[in-house]
Subunit: 342 residues, 2 copies
């Protein structure tokens, strides 16, 4: 009964017709980091809020129209990949060699099927390629040129690498290279850790009216990355995980730590085996384990009943949701201002 009313409210609030009896919900992120109010002009802040609202509405419209969780995740992430505001698709960060290499993954919580791609340079929407790996190949993960050949076979739109380029990210690369040069003056023989503006990995988690949870993540990785570095975004269990019994999770942050802690799967496992609710599980991993490891970042998640979850140990995380009650919320900074409804 409560579920039916929630859905009715969702329909009314958004004025989208739906015959759904079950809750639908969606939550998205556009990266976590040292995002402070004093560093964003009102115009830039408004641009982020508008794009986040547009993306989460696009995903919700798919759900309200009877679409699947995977389709909603793809709709929301595609809009963010196409926006220069985020570190995914157009506007992604540069590698050390001055090109863009993209990673993405998607998972369906109904059957634990998954698709992931890493280090692709010509696929306009990496999240769509990850979904084709899920649906049209016997594999889960494809990397590099092989993944591009598969993309071409699948008829997905290919672009020149320059399509992804923006001046803002090119300048960030130059800064990173300059900082690295300074760091190397005290050379230890190892590869220096580049302190980086890691904001901008995008992700989405959606619960459809069929009770299925899907999660997806897409990124350009780290500015100045090299050696074919792959972060957590395309790693099933680290950046993305979905299991109808427990959770859908998409992560953003210092990817190496997120892989080592198997963040997305660990949160789900604490729910499944440790009887935590999803918010508690997410907080244990993000606020305790990752903090103890010295790692920054955050996650978004949905519980099987549609409860929206955020946890981040950074100053801010670009985020938005439409709850099972149909309420839109958009947030950028820390919890106090948190999810001001828009």
């Amino acid at each position: 009964m409560f579920r039916a009313i929630s859905t009715l409210l969702a329909s009314l609030t958004l004025a989208v017709p739906t015959i759904a009896e079950n809750p639908i919900a969606i939550v998205i992120h556009g990266g976590a980091g040292t995002i402070l109010r004093e560093n964003l002009t009102p115009d830039v802040e408004a641009a982020y809020r508008d794009k986040l609202a547009e993306a989460v509405r696009a995903g919700h419209a798919v759900l309200a129209d009877g679409g699947t969780g995977r389709e909603a995740v793809i709709a929301a992430i595609t809009l963010m990949e196409d926006s220069a505001l985020f570190n995914a698709g157009h506007g992604a960060v540069f590698t050390h060699e001055g090109r863009v290499e993209l990673d993405a993954s998607i998972m369906d919580g109904s059957d634990l099927n998954a698709g992931a791609i890493a280090s692709v340079t010509r696929v306009r929407n990496p999240i769509r390629l990850a979904d084709r790996v899920l649906s049209h190949s016997p594999h889960v993960m494809l990397v590099g040129e092989g993944a591009e050949v598969f993309a071409a076979d699948q008829g997905l739109p290919l672009v020149e690498n320059s399509y992804f380029h923006t001046d803002r990210r090119r300048k960030a690369l130059q800064r990173a290279i300059d900082e690295e040069r300074e760091a190397l003056s005290e050379d230890t023989g190892d590869i220096p850790v580049i302190v980086d503006d890691k904001h901008g990995t995008v992700g989405a988690v959606a619960l459809d009216q069929y009770g299925n949870i899907a999660a997806g993540t897409s990124t350009g990785g780290m500015t100045n990355k090299r050696f074919g570095r792959v972060g957590d975004s395309p790693i099933i269990g680290a950046g993305t995980y979905a299991d109808n019994r427990a959770c859908g999770i998409s992560a953003t942050g210092h990817g190496e730590y997120f892989i080592r802690a198997a963040v997305a799967h660990d949160i789900c496992a604490r729910v499944l085996y440790g009887n935590r609710d999803l918010q508690t599980a997410a907080d244990e991993v993000i606020q305790q384990q990752l903090v103890a490891m010295g790692a920054e970042g955050g996650v978004i998640g949905l519980a099987p009943d549609g409860t929206v979850v955020y946890s981040f140990n950074t100053a801010g995380m670009y985020r938005a949701a439409i709850s099972s009650a149909g309420e839109l919320s958009v947030g950028i900074y820390g919890e106090s201002e948190s999810m001001v409804s828009k």
Copy 2:
């Protein structure tokens, strides 16, 4: 007291001097699959048993000599990578294009540090490169040519791809291509699933006298693989996981399912959050969840007290261990003949 006696027994049995007070143990695998007694000649079976015993002894010698779990894992896996008996290093399977592409990972349970590499073609011992990623880079995962550049920077031995080639694996590729051609006569538009001889991924888990567990895995992947396919072996949480609080795990099997189920991390999580012992946790994942998904394979593992664990849902798994009591065991087929001491 029991631990001290165990260690004493280990010393006596192996005649290796040690001043360790804590238990040491090591377990290795050389792949799981439809390995049946009637398909192995006595000579071939003896060759596998000898090489497994040699590899596990090499790892144990490192531990008895005060070496770390990581060093023991590397010693054991390097011997199997160098042997044509296994699908790793020399003797690995061919890709569709007729070359060898190798994946490996290693994890240290003391600090959850990890290293992984995928799709390398010239690094003689991939497990050593994975360990250099762990110890000498700020990253966890490097793929493709970038990983080779890093290997060269690190001074690791590089070889021509032909070093890895064997006639046996070249014939397996031809068989797979022929079978695929038949399968394609009933083309569905998707990539056909190739039924493959997947035996041979290798792995090791070691507990050192400092109480640290390390786990590693190395493979050539699937015969006839293409599109830059990456399986579970280099995925931290899928093919490999180690956490001193709960477990070390190395997996072998149908990699796509092992990624989707996050096998290695899930087994550890069931111990940590669900209070299972490690054998129960491994059996739940391998004998129940994976069987329900239709996936074949197995795992080896060590608990923090040195208890050796195996679980496989295939006819056989090449495996060997030296327990904390110093007992060597080597096994190939199902549980009935299981771990006959050699």
